[in-house]
């Protein structure tokens, strides 16, 4: 059979040559940043969010999808981070912070002809937060509302069950109460809302492919005269990092979430980084088994890091500057106490001064502290399991875990890395089953009181670090309304966490996205608004 001729086949050499040429051409070609002409549609390739029209069924970071079209009572100024008027023109709180009055803006129209915005829409939007399927970030806060009272069409009062000093945050663009149309709900019900929800933003809802993308169109008239530069806006959910890079470089998307290790590839091809105005996320390594409340049966003294000296040793064993440079490309700033940024209530500038001496990299001191605690050479062996997991858009967890392992080995702490998923890790710390482990976790900014309740209050379902002092002081904070007094109490909690080495605070990060500079000239966004990448109406094309 050898050499049997089949004349309709081209010669192998020809086929091979053609294939080789195409592949070589494809590999050698450098894509130029696309879109010489300004596109009509701005496409943002996102790592993903829980997509639903029902704002009461998703968490704060997922509010990205509502930001263009569903507005809030207050704005978060993209440059100062202050709460400023939006659908509410002015607002005030009673001296005991149990009543908040909002004066609503007149002349605001809902999209698709659903009429003017009034106090009834605020009551309706609030009522959605109380639905049985709600899973909002501020759900517990909204349950503390006693009544939302309509004074007239343009004045409304929130009556609270307890003093609420953070209501301005909750109703702002950083919170999760989106204003939707009661008229639409009355006319079409949930079905109509699912199909095409009406908002008041400078973009209006155009459509959604569930789990794939959501699109918006520029609204004809916005009450504030906001006119986005792009006629259409699309958020495309693309889970795969390499695919998001490909979308950006091919010009199919103009802005993309990108892990830091891929950012440099995008920048090398002419793309540019756009940062939020404020730090948004922090990374901290939490130490399991810190259940120091008196009588807590979950407390186990044999967990080495229940000893403060060991906790300090685990802190000073880490070279934070090196970690920041190698894993996070140097983009971040030190966290002194977990959850407290310089804008947070209770931030203490003394922490900055004391930090190098108490937390600074010093392996010799780490060994000494371990020795004093009875661990290391000549003492008891110490072993830690480092749990690593990743979330969409937060891919550095396993790298941090590996780095920790290396630093701990240097000071005589044996470590083992276990990669789990978030649900498993969360169920472990919720069930107080973390005696074995420590875990790096990236968490987003929230007001100090919210963070203390979420992470350190023993009655919260999360059990990071618990202590009688923190519990008592938190309860005092939650009842205090005087600003200076609150500052002092919140700071006292921060001081305790700082002095006790409650965990291993690492870095604060701004939100970072990569964009095509031929399409995106400037874009000011705060980062601390719900959804992180927000204020798309402020994306401006480059000057010609």
């Amino acid at each position: 059979m050898r050499g049997t001729r089949l004349p309709w086949f081209p010669s192998l050499r020809l086929v091979s040559l053609a294939l080789a040429v195409v592949l070589a051409w494809g590999l050698a070609t450098t894509p130029a940043p696309a879109a010489a002409q300004l596109p009509q549609k701005l496409v943002f390739a996102s790592a993903g969010f829980e997509d639903s029209n029902r704002f009461w069924t998703v968490a704060r970071p997922d509010h990205l999808q509502y930001d263009p079209f569903l507005e809030t009572l207050l704005e978060v100024d993209p440059k100062t981070g202050e709460y400023t008027p939006r659908l509410a023109e002015k607002w005030s709180a009673s001296p005991d912070y149990k009543e908040w009055t909002f004066h609503l803006r007149k002349g605001v129209q809902f999209h698709f002809g659903y009429g003017p915005f009034t106090a009834k829409d605020v009551v309706h939007s609030y009522s959605l937060t109380q639905r049985p399927e709600a899973k909002m970030t501020l759900g517990p806060f909204w349950r503390s509302v006693d009544e939302v009272k309509v004074i007239n069409d343009h004045q409304i009062v929130f009556r609270m069950k307890r003093p609420a000093t953070t209501l301005d945050y909750a109703v702002s663009r950083a919170g999760d109460l989106r204003i939707v149309s009661k008229a639409q709900w009355d006319k079409e019900g949930l079905e109509g809302f699912d199909k095409r929800p009406a908002g008041t933003g400078s973009y209006q809802y155009a459509g959604r492919k569930q789990g794939i993308s959501i699109t918006f169109e520029r609204a004809d008239k916005h009450w504030a005269g906001e006119k986005p530069a792009f006629k259409e806006l699309e958020f495309r959910i693309v889970r795969e990092e390499a695919t998001r890079l490909a979308l950006l470089l091919s010009g199919e998307a103009h802005i993309a979430d990108m892990p830091r290790e891929l950012q440099k590839d995008a920048i090398a091809k002419g793309m540019k980084l756009y940062f939020s105005s404020f730090p948004v996320d922090w990374i901290t390594v939490y130490l399991g088994g810190q259940y120091h409340m008196p009588g807590d049966k979950a407390f186990r003294a044999d967990v080495p890091w229940t000893n403060k000296k060991v906790r300090q040793a685990m802190n000073v064993a880490i070279n934070r500057q090196e970690l920041l440079k190698t894993v996070f490309a140097g983009k971040g700033s030190l966290t002194y106490v977990t959850g407290w940024s310089e804008k947070s209530e209770g931030f203490n500038p003394e922490w900055v001064k004391k930090f190098p001496a108490m937390y600074g990299y010093n392996p010799g001191k780490a060994k000494q502290l371990l020795k004093e605690a009875g661990y290391g050479p000549g003492g008891k062996p110490i072993k830690v399991k480092i749990l690593a997991f990743t979330e969409p858009g937060e891919s550095e967890g396993p790298q941090v875990a590996e780095a920790l392992g290396i630093y701990y080995k240097e000071v005589g702490i044996d470590s083992e890395i276990e990669v789990l998923d978030w649900a498993k890790v969360r169920s472990m710390f919720r069930g107080k089953a973390m005696h074995c482990c420590i875990w790096p976790n990236i968490i987003s900014w929230r007001p100090s009181e919210e963070w203390i309740r979420t992470a350190y209050f023993s009655k919260s379902p999360n059990h990071f670090y618990e202590h009688e002092y923190v519990d008592k002081t938190y309860e005092l904070l939650s009842k205090t309304v005087n600003k200076a007094e609150r500052q002092r109490i919140a700071q006292a909690i921060g001081d305790h966490l700082f002095e006790e080495f409650a965990d291993i605070p690492l870095f604060w990060f701004r939100n970072e996205v990569v964009a095509n500079p031929k399409v995106v000239g400037t874009w000011a966004y705060p980062g601390m608004a719900a959804g992180r990448s927000t204020h798309f109406h402020l994306v401006r094309p480059p000057a010609k």
Binding site: R5, A28, R239, L247, E252
Partner: protein, 306 residues
Amino acid sequence: MQRYIARRALQSLLALWVMSLIVFAMARLSGNALDMMLPMEATQEDYDRLSKYWGLDQPMHVQYGIFVSRALRGDFGMSWKWPGYSAMGLVMDRLPATLQLAGFALAISVVIALPIGVLSAVKKGTAWDTSGKIIALLGQSLPGFWLGIVLMWVFAVNLGWFPTSGRGGLQYMILPAITLGWFQVAALMRLVRSSMLDVLDSEFVKLTRVKGLAEWKVVWKHCLRNAAIAPLTFFAIIAGVLMTGSVVTETVFSWPGTGLLAIDAVRARDYQVVQAVVIVFATIFILTNLLVDILYAYLDPRIRYR
């Protein structure tokens, strides 16, 4: 024959029931859905409320009973991740995209594998044959996600011939279909080659040549027809494999099919959608196998009397 079909159908139902048990148990063993879906701020009250709302507070056997009784009516409940959407509705919405991609990948597999397999056999020991073997080796050893990204990089990003991802016209299908079908090309090609080699050595082929038939008629008409039985059986199996194996390809190319849906649902611990996807996949696979078994029995009477 009827008894054989009835027996095989019963076995298929049993397999489906076992599958339902496995998917139900595995979904719950993989972690608490509420830990994935609720924000950090959630209180115990939130956990209890949603647990009740979703029926997770019921004993496991009650939950399973509800799942099976609904599933028998084609109702897999409402999605937890995508409120307002039924789990089966989501699967059915996405299924056409997966069928389209799998069908196209299958066509590509056949169009590429068949001539290369034939050519390798006819030109055994030549450079063509060696090239065929290399294609087979690469096809079976290159991971799908890697191949997909390389194809995307070369043909979409650098050359700009195709879109990088998403679903649209024919141009959107080329790269994901090649990625999905590549492994099957290799397998199918090797099968065609070996079947062809068997047939090419047979007496009746020699006779056709002696009779003076044109070589292309000998190869494509007489040899291939006789060599096609084994590849045809395999073809039926890979149809199922392609549909159920599209998870990686759909993720890389953001192809809006059931594979991508499954990944999203698994990540979110949306038990309802996970159960619906797996049962649909399992049904497709079991039905494909049942069909192959029936075809076998039809073609070979000895099988049905075993």
